[in-house]
Symmetry: C2
Subunit: 109 residues, 2 copies
DNA sequence: ATTTAATATCGTAATATTGCGATGTAAATA
DNA sequence: TATTTACATCGCAATATTACGATATTAAAT
């Protein structure tokens, strides 16, 4: 037990859920907002901004990179992170497709 | 360790993250989609539809109720679940506010 | 009054996540 | 070359999540 039964759901459901899961942590929301505001940042900026350990920030950045929403490019001894605009737009559409669907509520509630 | 440091984030960030976290599980996505399609459902419908144990479905329904996105009303010996249209729309706006913001990518990536 | 049906809750095992210190690596600097 | 800087990764402890059987609760049906 303790394992999500991925195989019983549709690919689309698993995909959407895993994106939402990655976004479902305040540190990762804060990181995304910071990058959006500053256009770009390095890991150390976030360590100072958020007050989490460097290892922790690095881990969160890794998860965001895993879903592709951010990119990192080596720049001397630091790594420059930014939003991947294309992936961001794909997610936008994905989320809009789910959240902006019409919800008709029947009269039992 | 192992605890999210809620106190270091803005309320808004914590709130958005916790909503996304609840939605970040395929069973809960599947449950929401099922309710949206059928307009309404009872717990047993979902047990048959998804093939998870009744206790498990009940637990997922509880989490969805916690964030307010669904409502349950007692109807005889069963409970009729449906989307809370008002809360759904609030979430829509919340998510749109985040995902539909302009993302300007600087030329380092 | 008993039984059945639908659900919620409790307890627990398996697994996942969070956070961090320690350590490794690679580029810049002294 | 030695040191510093920025980052990634490893290993671990604390905690959270997932799933389910067992059990409790409440209303309908017999």
């Amino acid at each position: 037990m303790g394992v999500t039964k991925t195989e019983i759901y549709k690919d689309e459901q698993n995909k959407l859920a895993s994106l939402l899961k990655v976004l479902g942590h305040p540190a990762r929301i804060a990181i995304l907002q910071y990058i959006i505001n500053q256009k770009t940042c390095i890991c150390n900026d976030l360590v100072e901004e958020l007050g989490l350990a460097q290892a922790t920030i690095s881990q969160h950045l890794k998860e965001l990179k895993t879903i592709g929403i951010i990119q990192g490019s080596i720049e001397g001894k630091s790594v420059c992170y930014c939003i991947d605009e294309l992936v961001w737009k794909q997610f936008q559409e994905e989320f809009n497709g789910f959240f902006n669907q019409d919800v008709n509520v029947k009269q039992c509630c």
